[in-house]
Point group: C2
Chain length 489, copies 2
């Protein structure tokens, strides 16, 4: 395999520029990337397409021009609870596996836009977990240190991006599954407003809360993929039309942070689970935002934490049971023991409990909404610390729960959130921050995220590339393009 | 008692005009109305204020001018599941009864606007029923024929208005309780958008669905009362701020019906339960709207009916249990047998059932919303027929269910609805129509309702008054007012 292609900068615009200039041949490149995926040793993939299937897709691409397809020849990965017609859907459970007759709505849209799915990625079984170790296909290794968890449940999708195997990937997120693994692998993870991306053809976790999420190295790429992926779908009863004020055009790569009102939990409400390095990195993140002009406003984080508690202590786990009821009833032992425990516990909750919990959630939401109404967004860590795989195996429930401290409330409260890289801990593991806001604040969050990525100007994922290099090369290409036009015109 | 005062036209603007002109003395008049309420023989009231309590309120009124209080000296009634600090709240169950320390938010707002609550009205116990016979205080008699049911559960409140005992009244509505009794007593019943009127201080039925409703003789009076009653309340987690486009100023008493797109269920989806008179009256109502310029568009009503079925067959009954759990558990036999059966059945539903039912509801809502999106509003009967009390006593569940055929889906689907009088059946009982639309279409619906009331120009409630007489007298007063200004100016 061509090592330089394996280490190719995977930025979507860079790739397209390289295809256009002839620096890269799309067929050769994608065959190399598929071979690279097939030789992955981090447990990223559950299945990959065959060389023949890739040929089929490349043939389809031949009749199209790079200018008409915004994701022309861009390799991506889909979490294995998202249907893709060429491969089975396992949801991380061999016995549950089925061959979908068609792709999920979101995968269809991305393929139509020219993107090439190389395969299906490993996950915490039935998307139940934030660790990335709850899989019969093995724990996904963190892209920075294989002894550490990758985060989950969209573990393989995050590591596929972080290790440069694909340009972007799809995850799902019910309680943090699209954000925690982004943080632990130094990439961007977007849990867009519930309903913007259709869940048709996605195995539900908690159907009323589930979101399809996007992993990429930059907010600009997330913005582009979200633009293609977000389409109203009447087959998904939770699908919602986007607001005009939240369209891709409202992504502003040059947004100023001056005067941006950023909420920050009271110090006593933050938890780093003893990780002083993480705490220091978070505090310096706050200072960097402040230095960029943001107004940091201390908020009461308690109602958010109270809402979060409802998710795991309350009746929502019944949604996980409802999602796989027939399969689970037939033989619960086909699931991993930890999943049996969690999903099996769902049947103890009554309808009365459920409504009472919904009233409590609604009351918390009123409090949280009132806090958000005074702000542009809220800043938190994405995960308070990073854990070793062996530590999680020794204490699987508590450490999993710790990883969701800043993420569990988001879907319940119907908020949008973007997880952003924020540097490395003394351990060498990545640390991330999250910005969140009300539903339909996606593009505002991505715009703030773009500034944040400029501020930190950090390497992307586990690669040596930087966003500033990419922007430089793109801007010279853009300049070259302008000169061309000037000459022709 | 002064018979002429008992038969006084109770229209709010008429009353205020009569106070202003000195034709009526507010103290004398309200004392007469209280005496009239105390001598009611239709089982309208569970409790009324004392003469001393009335004196207290009249004293408070003395320091205020009629011009600063939009409901100055206007007598009203509150359903006895809505707290009013001067009287106990029973919810139709003596054993449950308690003395509230303060009035509900809505009663406070009305009193602040000058309205005088004469008492608390009879209801189907715990607002569970659409018949008005499920009460230890006796079946509320229909205002047209005491052998017939008044409709429920806001039975007393509807009959109090229909019989001219008060100008307006408050009900509650979870499944039709604020509309069915309006239809059966020839008055207007408004189930405004969920959350516009606070439920703080209201005994819940199904807390996620409950609405406080308004009964009056005209859409103009409903518009005025709604304007005062609708205020965001952070103590009610389901409270919602009104949209500017749905403010009282958007009530248009001269709205044209030309081109109004009115949905009409397919004929096979309408049910009159064998009542050919009701069917004929509904058909002539459609023709009258058509003659007024409305465009009648046949719609598929099935998804609305399917959503309705979820309410009584699904887990929402668990909300009724949750509302009175401690009381009910302690001794269910303190409730009427029919309430024991209904509420007691709630504990069989699981959290899993609940979430599955919510998914089904959400799927129906997508279908119903798509139908509404093509229309201004939908027209249905309010109740397909009227029943005798003895018939309901013989078959209490089925006939109650029949009365909810056109109302049960409304709150589940988050729609606004206004029930309007539509004439008399051959039996001499009133028949009503309902117009409904999406959340926040309240003022549009009331505006269409205003035209409808002009078209039918029918007597109000069980009185001999007509809206056309009132408007005549008001417009002469308005003219007189204009002349005054002209003279002064």
């Amino acid at each position: 395999m061509d090592k330089s292609m394996q280490q190719q900068n995977m930025n979507i615009e860079e790739l397209k520029a390289a295809y256009r200039s002839g620096e890269l041949d799309v067929n050769t490149f994608l065959k190399t990337k598929l071979a690279q995926a097939k030789s992955d040793t981090s447990n990223v993939w559950i299945s990959t397409i065959s060389e023949q299937q890739l040929e089929q897709m490349l043939t389809l691409l031949e009749s199209k021009s790079i200018d008409e397809l915004p994701l022309y020849g861009v390799p991506f990965a889909a979490k294995d609870n998202i249907d893709f017609a060429m491969l089975p859907t396992t949801a991380g459970c061999e016995a549950y596996s089925f061959q979908p007759t068609e792709s999920s709505s979101v995968v269809k849209l991305l393929i139509e836009a020219g993107a090439i799915p190389l395969g299906k990625t490993n996950l915490d079984q039935f998307a139940t977990g934030l660790v990335g170790v709850r899989s019969p296909w093995g724990a996904v290794n963190n892209s920075f240190d294989p002894e550490y968890v990758s985060g989950g449940s969209s573990s393989g999708s995050a590591v596929a991006v972080a290790t440069g195997q694909v340009s972007f990937s799809l995850g799902t997120d019910t309680a943090g599954s699209g954000r925690v693994p982004a943080a632990l692998n130094n990439i961007v993870g977007m849990k867009a407003t519930k309903g913007l991306i259709s869940c048709t053809g996605v195995v539900p976790a908690c159907k009323s809360l589930d979101c399809v999420t996007i992993f990429a190295n930059s907010t600009s790429e997330v913005n582009l993929v979200l633009d293609i992926a977000a389409e109203l779908d009447t087959d998904d009863c939770y699908s919602r039309d986007n607001l005009q004020t939240n369209s891709a055009a409202h992504y502003d790569v040059n947004k100023t942070l001056a005067g941006l009102k950023v909420g920050l939990p009271e110090a006593s409400q933050l938890s780093f689970f003893g990780d002083h390095g993480a705490q220091a990195l978070f505090e310096s993140s706050v200072e960097r935002l402040k230095a960029a002009g943001a107004e940091i406003i201390t908020i009461n984080f308690q109602p958010f934490l109270d809402a979060a508690k409802l998710l795991y202590e309350g009746p929502w786990v019944a949604e996980r049971y409802a999602a796989i009821e027939a399969f689970f009833k037939a033989d619960p032992t086909q699931c991993l023991p930890v999943i049996q425990t969690i999903v099996g516990g769902a049947t103890t909750h009554s309808a009365v409990d459920t409504f009472i919990a919904m009233y409590r959630l609604q009351a918390f939401k009123v409090q949280c909404d009132a806090i958000l109404a005074e702000l542009d967004c809220v800043l938190t860590p994405t995960a308070g610390t990073a854990y070793r795989i062996k530590d999680v195996e020794a204490d699987p429930i508590q450490l999993n729960s710790n990883l969701g401290y800043y993420t569990n409330f988001m879907n319940l409260l119907d908020y949008a959130a973007v997880a952003l890289p924020a540097g490395l801990l003394p351990s060498g593991l990545p640390f991330g921050i999250t910005l969140f806001g009300p539903a339909f604040s996606d593009r505002m969050l991505l715009s703030v995220g773009a500034q944040w990525q400029k501020i930190i100007d950090f390497t992307l994922g586990a690669t040596e590339h930087k966003l500033s290099d990419i922007e430089l090369s793109l801007s010279s290409e853009a300049k070259a393009g302008q000169v061309d036009i000037a000459v022709c015109g």
